[in-house]
Symmetry: C2
């Protein structure tokens, strides 16, 4: 049995009502604030989270209804395999974003770095730990030579609209 | 409708047949090699992946059958909310590991940094891009002051065995 049923643990609210002009990464959305409402039944799972300045969100790319194995990503002009990109039309449309946690009020998490659509179903939160999670001296394939400014400037368009 | 059905895209093979003594993070498993067999139908999605030295794997923590909202994590002695830890008994038991991609041979990916069980179902691969993905000057809550050596030394035990 290869299928697996998962349920969301909360809902993410952001200013992005459609993907047009949406930032493609948290780096391009540093000033963009969002909130997460955690469903009551999972509230106890937030204990001790506020000590972390950064958290990694796993969420459902909920507007994606099918996938393409080859895509032209936002930061390039030639086709790439979907797994060599962050493009959303993936076989399992799970997004990850490491964002800055600003404050927790009850079941409401305030964060900045919102690069996902309003209404996105949240699947998991993991604390970000610099010493676990950063990597250095990496090779970055077709992204080699691109820098933070390219990412900040690049906005989504309608190519992955369903 | 809050449920979502997902299918794995491949299977991860590692030396870890049970969680006893398994490393708790890729950092503790730098020398541990694993392979991923991608199912044939997703093979085209690997194009251009080999240029990346590091990839982030999303996978199902397939031995986990329920969750606990409060856990005592491996690197501490007092209870924490599950979302403030990387412990596996999560509401949606999805694991993430950023590993070093060594070689791709057809539908077989060779990597090092294997910190997951043998037979783990793979859900997604994302290319790791240092300039997107590293974060600095973070606060790390209850993990403050722990360093790479703590992580390297800490092995799993049977507390999350099902």
């Amino acid at each position: 049995m290869n299928e697996w049923i998962i349920n969301s643990i909360g809902t993410i609210s952001t200013p992005w009502k459609s993907i047009d002009n949406m930032p493609i990464q948290p780096l391009g959305a540093e000033a963009v604030k969002g909130t997460i409402k955690i469903f009551d039944e999972y509230l106890a799972g937030l204990a001790a989270l506020e000590g972390f300045s950064h958290i990694t969100l796993l969420y459902k790319l909920h507007k994606i209804t099918d996938y393409e194995l080859t895509v032209i990503p936002f930061m390039d002009k030639s086709p790439k395999g979907i797994f060599a990109t962050r493009s959303p039309k993936r076989p399992n449309a799970i997004g990850i974003s490491t964002v800055e946690l600003l404050k927790i009020e009850g079941n409401l998490l305030h964060f900045s770095g919102a690069d996902m659509l309003n209404g996105t179903p949240l699947l998991d939160i993991k604390p970000f730990f610099e010493k676990f999670d950063n990597r250095f001296n990496t090779r970055q394939g077709w992204l080699e030579g691109r820098d933070e400014n390219d990412i900040r400037k690049t906005k989504s368009d309608d190519r992955f609209k369903m």
